[in-house]
Symmetry: C2
Subunit: 152 residues, 2 copies
DNA sequence: GAGAATAGCTCACTCAGTGAGATAAATTGG
DNA sequence: CCAATTTATCTCACTGAGTGAGCTATTCTC
């Protein structure tokens, strides 16, 4: 190797630039969630839990307390507390699981969905409004998929 | 309007799909930061602070406690505590600000940079390794820029 | 069916983050 | 140029989110 290839490589620098932009987006989404938490009086963790529960519903996955704990990277006890708070606020219902009577099925209430839509709706609309040609969208989609795979 | 245009619009659905992938990336980056925190014995907030400080350095911005508080969306007191912890761990140095003697200049130590590189280096390499044609990279770059603008 | 594993919970505790308020330096108005 | 105000940060006392230990109920395994 006659010279430092990597850091001076313009291809590499350009790729790094994309990663920085992705991180910037991640940061801003996090701050937006934090702002939502403040305006609704919820805690940051509670908001993250709600989002994960909504994602589970969308994906058709049965959300249990244990599953949620894994998603949040927290202990089951802390997750129990989160669920209690969300339940008290009327955002989540704890239903019996049919398959396992030790477990519970967590269901997000309509009011919580409405609340989230009220706050994130406009943001989501702006994001969706970013127009791309179908071919461009395919390129972006492939890139995001590759990134997701690289992280996971 | 004869039918629900928006939800059934395939363009819209495809755009939404991209947003979901972005959110997935944001979530995974967050979890990676959490894992880094656990392995290093730092707190999640401390890691976020370190990352922001490194970003500031890269951007040539002078990082003060007040600036950091804003970046973290936290009070100045909590930020003082974060800085104390990072200082005690030897990850940050508090230097005098030349322009304002009330304020401090926060500098990340080399050891912290090394530590971060050790953990995030491999991840970053995998992300950079996602190969794109220059034209594709331009498309992705434009999309990410547009998304960033839409969030901010 | 006995023993092990699993899902979730309660209890007691720790410490991260907040509100109130202090200090010190910079800025502004007369 | 000095008093009043604002700004940047810090200390103190407190709250409550998250953890570890350990319990109960149910399911799995042999």
């Amino acid at each position: 190797m006659r010279e430092r290839v990597m850091p001076s490589d313009p291809e590499r620098a350009a790729a790094l630039e994309l990663v920085h932009r992705l991180r910037e987006i991640a940061l801003r989404l996090e701050l937006a969630a934090g702002e939502f938490a403040r305006t609704t009086g919820l805690h940051g963790t509670d908001v993250r839990a709600l989002i994960r529960l909504l994602d589970a519903e969308r994906a058709g996955v049965e959300a249990t307390p244990g599953w949620l704990a894994g998603q949040l990277g927290m202990t089951s006890q802390a997750t129990t507390a989160v669920i209690h708070r969300l339940e008290a606020a009327g955002h989540v219902e704890r239903l019996r699981s049919r398959s396992d009577r030790r477990s519970a099925r967590l269901q997000v209430s309509d009011s919580a969905v409405d609340l989230g839509w009220q706050f994130f709706g406009p943001l989501l609309e702006r994001l969706i409004a970013v127009q791309l040609e179908p071919s461009e969208r395919a390129v972006v989609g492939r890139y995001l998929d590759a990134v997701n795979e690289a992280i996971g």
